[in-house]
């Protein structure tokens, strides 16, 4: 028949056998047969992908975040345990490849408004800040340990009084190392004896005194010795032995971290760079992760930021990590591995911050199939009691599995500094060689807050 569009060939009411009325407004007939799709239970690649799709839909459709997390980590299989504090050589390159992170040396440039101008002359002036006028005495190399009177600054209210904070830091250090009579440290537990309590005291007193300048700290939650866990898939491998031999499986990783101290806040930190920025390259390593060495174990797949989903302080602000005795500098120097000292700090910063930010993103409902729509930013300070290294991490993507990593060009970014000493030595009730730079950086970290506040 000529395709002349709908035409009335027959008057209505009359039917002609083998002709249907073209373009008649009858409802479209429902398909007579169900759609032809792959089976669910067959042992075939199509069935595997259909099962995966059904799983993804189940997780997408989960009603609450707890249900989502439960379904996400339901299947237990052997997975690599990634330790943030590790002696493995060049571990930070491996960790960057597992987490698709770009390492940028130095601290991110921040807008001049969020940086606190400092009351003491002689502090390094950053761009956009005029040195504070006022008669301040130049800082001495030796700082007496007893309470130092805060340096008077003209119009000091918007400025951070570095003298006051320095005296707080010195008091905390002296109390823990000098004034309090303690028993000898237990074998290989030097870090719990002095640097641990010093760090706790320092952070709690600094956070308390800076809370008037940073209203976010005033509603923060301070956790001592919390637990941070994250579980993810990245890459694929073939199962080597066992009853599942020969099957292609994603490579599973789990980070179980115990920072010394962490600060959680109810509002998110602002993004440092836009979501799609590309600041470098992610290292590609062709070897299996077990060469690092990393070992596999099967246990519960946990995702935890330090407290449960119901807590209103669900975003992270700053973590503080204390390096244990087995990773101290003298050991590396003795084994002639001086270049690995910085690797320890970097791997700790990258792995811990990735786990924390990714767990925060999962608490907001994002996961590898539903990638983050806003970047998650957190900070960390890694120290061994004397040397401090600062890290800032921006999570731009959670899509690290084999299927999703192809479609996502985003990379996570980590800014990190080298470790610098806070002081030279403590002698006879005096702290010698106190380094204001490190204290200032710590203060800047604690004062970080969203732009609205």
């Amino acid at each position: 028949m000529a395709a002349l569009g709908p035409r009335r060939l027959l008057p209505p009411g009359r039917r002609w056998f083998s002709q249907t009325v073209p373009g008649a407004p009858s409802p479209p007939a429902s398909p007579l047969y169900p759609p032809v799709v792959a089976s669910i239970t067959a042992k075939s690649k199509a069935a595997k992908s259909r099962r995966l799709q059904r799983f993804n839909q189940r997780v997408h459709a989960a009603a609450t975040v707890e249900e989502k997390l439960r379904l996400y980590g339901k299947l237990q299989r052997p997975k690599y345990m990634v330790y943030p504090q590790t002696f493995a050589l060049n571990a930070d390159r491996w960790y960057r490849s597992f987490t698709k992170t770009v390492l940028v040396p130095g601290m991110p440039p921040r807008a001049g408004a969020t940086k606190p101008p400092v009351a003491a002359a002689g502090a390094t002036p950053e761009t956009g800040r005029a040195p504070e006028p006022g008669a301040e005495a130049p800082r001495d190399a030796e700082v007496p340990g007893a309470a130092k009177t805060p340096e008077p600054a003209a119009g000091a209210t918007p400025y951070v009084d570095i003298g006051e904070l320095r005296s707080l830091a010195c008091d905390a250090l002296l109390q823990e190392s000098f004034y309090q009579n303690k028993k000898r440290p237990f074998l290989y537990r030097d870090q719990d004896h002095t640097p641990g309590p010093f760090l706790t005291q320092l952070v709690s007193t600094l956070a308390a005194s800076l809370s008037c300048r940073n209203p976010l700290l005033a509603v923060s939650s301070l956790d001592l010795n919390p637990e941070v866990n994250y579980y993810w898939h990245h890459g694929k491998e073939v199962v080597v032995h066992g009853h599942r031999k020969g099957r292609v499986d994603p490579v599973r990783f789990q980070i179980d971290d115990n920072p010394h101290l962490q600060i959680r806040v109810p509002k998110q930190l602002p993004e440092v760079v836009p979501l799609e920025s590309d600041l470098g390259d992610v290292p590609v390593i062709d070897h299996k992760p077990s060469k690092l060495p990393l070992f596999k174990k099967q246990y519960e797949n946990k995702v935890f930021i330090g407290s449960k989903v119901a807590d209103p302080c669900c975003y992270g602000h700053t973590q503080f990590h204390l390096l244990p005795d087995r990773l101290k500098r003298e050991r590396f120097i003795r084994e002639r591995l001086e270049d690995q000292i910085e690797v320890v700090y970097r791997s700790n910063g990258i792995a811990s911050l990735f786990a924390w930010t990714a767990a925060q993103a999962m608490y907001q409902g994002f996961w590898s199939e539903a990638d983050v729509t806003r970047p998650f930013v957190s900070q960390a300070v890694v120290t061994d009691g004397k040397y401090f290294a600062f890290f800032c991490y921006q999570l731009n993507t959670l899509a690290l599995t084999e299927e999703t990593i192809k479609n996502s060009p985003r990379k996570n970014i980590c800014w990190g500094t080298d470790s610098k000493p806070l002081y030279d030595v403590v002698e006879d009730g005096n702290v010698k060689g106190f380094n204001d730079e490190v204290l200032l950086q710590l203060v800047r970290f604690l004062l970080n807050r969203p732009k609205e506040l």
Binding site: A147, Y179, K182, S204
Partner: protein, 313 residues
């Protein structure tokens, strides 16, 4: 055998006053502190310690008792934004206290790990007025005849009479005045924890020990009536029940039974919350007790905060 506080009173020559002293009450009633929003934060903090802190279903007492204490101290410390002199405080953990004194020819000694001590640079001003101190002269200490007052105390041969909180800190320590002692009964098993009465007695003994050591450092070792009494506070808890105590040392002359006595104000058995339910209790498909913290008492938190701010406000 009989309540421990009465025995401790005799041993330390102390008169008991129920409730907290008027200075502390005054801080509590001071509306300028903004206690309303602090209540919200206190509730969150209790929920965090009791419900949210762990990957398991419910945290154990060994974890939630210290966590609750740390969280409450964190809220109190954040007030140093408003009162800058609060930053002149320092917490010291695991300090050992030793003090000896004589009571009616019996040599007594307090020694041990006294929990967590908060020191400050400035002493707490005396809480009781001069008249109240003089009025304690008439007070007669309760004796327990025929039971000796040293019952249940361990008799030890002491070779060195150790006597200072300088034992805990060296000379020249800037935060030299003991401010508050904190006792956390965090053992999981109930028999390992002190009962409230025993906890109060322990608090009294350690507060007395700290105050005595400080008084001896300030005024010398001779027993005499103190011109400026030394005040030490003490807070004890097992994670839910709080005991508050303010101790004022008026005299170091402890040998005789009469004369000026020391004073202690005790506020006991204050519940911070009634019940913390981690999983809702369901009986016959009906939720009888919903999950969460129920029965939160803001007054207990206000007392905690008032004792923390005492001395600087």
């Amino acid at each position: 055998v009989f309540p421990g506080v009465r025995q401790a009173q005799w041993l330390t020559k102390t008169k008991l006053v129920e409730g907290l002293p008027p200075a502390v009450q005054g801080i509590m009633d001071n509306a300028a502190l903004g206690l309303q929003e602090l209540e919200e934060r206190a509730k969150h903090v209790v929920a965090h310690a009791r419900l949210w802190d762990t990957t398991e279903v419910a945290p154990r007492r060994e974890r939630y008792c210290p966590m609750l204490f740390e969280n409450l101290i964190h809220i109190c410390r954040l007030m140093s934004g408003k009162y800058p002199s609060l930053s002149k405080r320092m917490l010291a953990r695991n300090c050992r206290i030793a003090a000896t004194w004589e009571r009616e020819s019996i040599l007594l000694q307090v020694r041990g790990l006294s929990g967590i001590l908060m020191n400050s640079m400035t002493p707490i001003p005396p809480v009781a007025s001069k008249e109240e101190i003089l009025a304690t002269k008439e007070h007669v200490l309760e004796t327990f005849y025929p039971i000796a007052p040293t019952i249940d105390l361990q008799e030890v041969n002491v070779y060195k009479e150790l006597n200072d909180t300088g034992q805990c800190f060296r000379d020249g320590y800037p935060y030299s005045h003991p401010h508050t002692l904190f006792f956390l009964e965090s053992a999981n098993v109930r028999t390992d924890r002190f009962r409230p009465e025993q906890l109060r007695a322990k608090m009294l003994m350690f507060a007395f020990g700290n105050a005595l050591a400080k008084a001896r450092v300030l005024h010398g070792n001779d027993p005499k009536v103190l011109e400026e009494p030394v005040v030490v506070q003490s807070i004890g808890t097992d994670g839910q029940l709080f005991q508050f105590m303010v101790f004022q040392l008026n005299t170091t002359d402890l040998v005789s039974n009469d004369g000026i006595k020391n004073l202690v104000w005790i506020d006991s058995d204050q519940n911070l919350y009634e019940r913390a339910q981690c999983v809702p209790e369901v009986k016959k498909r009906v939720v009888t007790k919903p999950a969460g913290i129920s029965g939160f008492q803001p007054d207990t938190f206000k007392k905690f905060l008032a004792l923390y701010l005492h001395g600087t406000v």
